[in-house]
């Protein structure tokens, strides 16, 4: 079936054995945009990049990308500032994920996943900003209603 669908797009006058003209080169790889930044890091705060397996010591000002994870130890805290200006303060013993692109089936993509602990969120201009937070039991959407992203 797929082959049948594919056949019409082969260039006219080109048999299956012949090589079609080379496709245009893919656009140059671009650095992903950070989704948020870490601020006000206090105590033992660790960061795990989506691309790595190691938990690294988090520092003030570090950019956070999709699927990065941040965790705080007992007595620690940190602030995550999103690109739209909304902020989330992480309390102690918390574990969060940034904008997970592979959410669980049936779940919508969100800005933040809280797996453990307490976070305090703030949107200064909720008529123009939005923030969605997913946990193992619910999704919380604050600010502007966004149905289609």
């Amino acid at each position: 079936m797929l082959l049948a669908l594919a056949l019409p797009v082969l260039p006219i006058g080109c048999t299956a054995d012949e090589k079609p003209p080379a496709p245009p080169p893919p656009p140059a790889a671009r650095m992903p945009e950070p989704r948020a930044h870490l601020k006000e890091v206090r105590g033992d705060v660790k960061l795990k990049r989506a691309t790595g397996d190691e938990w690294l010591a988090a520092r003030e000002g570090l950019p956070l990308f999709e699927n990065d994870k941040v965790r705080t130890a007992a007595g620690a805290s940190a602030r995550v500032t999103f690109a739209n200006g909304s902020t989330v303060n992480l309390g102690e013993d918390a574990l969060i994920g940034i904008a997970e692109t592979r959410p669980r089936p049936g779940r919508e993509r969100t800005d933040l996943t809280v797996l453990k602990g307490r976070v305090d969120a703030a949107l200064d201009a909720p008529t123009t900003q939005s923030l969605s937070v997913t946990t193992p039991s619910t999704t919380v959407q604050a600010g502007r209603e966004i149905v289609f992203r």
């Binding site: 079609p20 909720p126 209603e145």
Partner: protein, 298 residues
């Protein structure tokens, strides 16, 4: 082969046009139920396919809306309906928000999902009791995954689970258990105010079996509280005594002489208030008075 891969990528990126063929003696409502799981979707099919009548001949091919888009807008509509229903009847812009909601319902019926979503957005903006205020809320996830959402300020926050969306206004809290839809929110409980004994009060008792007391602790009632959790602690360390009561006082069992602190928090259906400010009291032994009567022989 490479061409086939390009086509696959194109197919993945472009939502497939969904169609259905009307069966023999099938009404539009029946087609809607079969394809959308909702007989009320007949009006959307009618609008989407520019039909002039509900009677469609068998064999007619009908375009279907994207199930994902329809489901998202349907749930946003449901949340907006709940928000309008729960809004204060005297809220200044409630009527305006209701009108916007009706407009969004009509757009949904006409399969104009994008337009409906925008109208719902403006209904929310009108309805928000905290419109113009910053939105602040907290999310607390327990080990079990159960989540408590507390809204401090700003417009309502939407809490969604198991296909149900519950608006939570400022000053409200909701606890969502894993695998269950969100229940109705409750008012956030304020911390009780400790009353007696006065802070740092020295309390004297005659010792009984080496213990002093009993001390009666009292505090203010909190509207909406189902009970109160009281903890008595040494100046530093873990609680020595704790109890959950429905009354606003506790006859504390006797304790050894020493300095103690205590706190109380209100307990609701699904959450507890913050603990009250700590109060201290000190238990000391009362001097034992020995009364000696006049001897008869004097």
């Amino acid at each position: 082969m490479r061409s086939a891969l390009f086509l696959l990528a194109w197919l993945a990126a472009t939502p497939a046009e969904r169609e259905v063929v009307v069966k023999e003696r099938e009404s539009l409502a029946q087609v809607a139920e079969r394809t959308l799981g909702d007989p009320k979707g007949a009006s959307e099919l009618k609008a989407l396919n520019r039909l002039t009548s509900d009677a469609v001949p068998a064999g007619t091919t009908l375009k279907l809306p994207s199930l994902e888009d329809r489901s998202r807008v349907k749930s946003a509509l449901e949340a907006a309906r709940n928000a309008v229903a729960q809004a204060d009847r005297n809220a200044a812009r409630r009527e305006e928000a209701s009108a916007k909601l009706r407009e969004a319902e009509a757009q949904f019926q006409s399969a104009e999902y994008m337009a409906a979503a925008k109208t719902i957005d403006s209904a929310w903006a009108l309805l928000s009791p905290g419109a113009g205020q910053p939105s602040t809320f907290s999310v607390n996830v327990e080990e079990s995954g159960d989540t408590t959402v507390t809204v401090q300020t700003g417009p309502p926050v939407r809490v969604r689970a198991e296909d149900k969306t519950q608006p939570v206004n400022s000053g409200q809290v909701v606890r969502v258990e894993k695998g269950k839809p969100p229940p109705a929110p409750e008012a956030v409980l304020s911390a009780p105010q400790p009353r007696m004994p006065a802070d740092k009060a020295p309390l004297k008792f005659a010792p009984v079996k080496g213990l002093l007391g009993p001390v009666t602790l009292t505090w203010s009632a909190v509207p909406g509280a189902k009970g109160y959790e009281v903890e008595v602690l040494p100046p530093q360390g873990e609680p020595l005594r704790s109890s959950t009561l429905t009354a606003t006082k506790w006859l504390l069992p006797s304790l050894p002489a020493g300095r103690y602190r205590w706190t109380v928090r209100a307990v609701g259906e699904s959450h507890k208030s913050n603990a009250s400010a700590e109060r201290f009291f000190e238990l000391t032994e009362d001097k034992v008075r020995i009364e000696v009567g006049k001897p008869d022989w004097q």
